[in-house]
């Protein structure tokens, strides 16, 4: 282990995660919210890779693979939902969708 300190890699992952969180909270377009969610998942994967590289184990990359699988499934379902919402309400604004029929 030489070169990149673990703390800085984890700091970068935290910064990326917070940026994604800010994106989720601030943006109101559903597509942009999904993209910010991708950034958050990616930052989590970066943390796992940093830890796996620190101890030289394959577990970090396996956890990254699982996060990748999760992101793929989430994007598929989320974009399908966004399409359905756009078909019904003709908008992608998340604030329009506050009411439920119940």
């Amino acid at each position: 282990m030489s070169g990149i300190p673990m703390v800085q890699g984890l700091l970068l992952s935290v910064v990326l995660f917070v940026l994604g969180l800010v994106g989720v909270l601030v943006r109101r377009n559903l597509i942009m919210i999904l993209m910010s969610l991708e950034v958050m998942l990616n930052a989590t994967g970066l943390a796992f890779i940093v830890a796996g590289s620190r101890w030289g184990e394959a577990d970090g990359q396996i956890m990254f693979l699982l996060i990748l699988t999760l992101a793929a499934a989430e994007v598929g379902v989320g974009l399908g939902l966004a399409l359905q919402i756009f078909r019904r309400w003709h908008t992608l604004d998340a604030d329009v969708l506050t009411g439920m029929k119940g």
Binding site: I4, L12, G23, M35, S53, G56, G60, V75, L83
Partner: protein
């Protein structure tokens, strides 16, 4: 030297992410998001996780982003699409991501050119990952396949064009 590369790549990743969440247009944001994912891929390469770096580029920046492009293009049908395309193709839009990805390209060139000297961290190659994946983590692989199947069924269910659903939704 590897630390310098790490700092440059981190700066590119953070800048691209900030630009992504501040773009008003979804396609511009998507461009910067792809750049951010590519930068994280270079970071994975720097950290010695080559297999994860390749997967990041192929699956994240390739497959998942193509899904986003498809949906954005599907939602933008209409008369104004042509003028929108004209606006999107202005140089000011794509020159920023292109320059930043050129930085990443130069970095990759340096890393590959220097061989093992530029890599840091302990290298975990694809063979180790595969052995661990199909050894102690076999059940997790099965669970991931179940998750992907559920995602496939859900995406098909939500995404299919159905006239009846549109009609009932219109009245609400």
């Amino acid at each position: 030297m590897a630390l310098t590369l790490f700092y440059i790549t981190s700066a590119v990743a953070i800048f691209a992410t900030v630009m992504m969440i501040t773009r008003l247009n979804a396609v511009h944001g998507l461009l910067y998001l792809i750049l951010s994912l590519l930068a994280v891929g270079v970071l994975f390469f720097l950290l010695g996780a080559h297999f994860a770096a390749v997967l990041e580029v192929i699956i994240y920046a390739g497959a998942i982003m193509v899904l986003f492009v498809f949906v954005i293009m599907m939602l933008n049908q209409g008369q104004k699409t042509l003028t929108q395309e004209r606006v999107w193709l202005q140089p000011g839009v794509w020159i920023g991501p292109s320059l930043l990805s050129a930085i990443l390209l130069v970095e990759m060139w340096i890393i590959v050119g220097y061989g093992n000297g530029a890599e840091t961290g302990s290298v975990v190659n694809a063979k180790q990952v595969g052995i661990a994946l199909y050894g102690p983590y076999l059940l997790v692989v099965e669970l991931a396949s179940m998750l992907l199947l559920a995602g496939l069924v859900g995406a098909y269910h939500f995404g299919r064009p159905k006239q009846k659903a549109a009609k009932t939704g219109r009245s609400s």
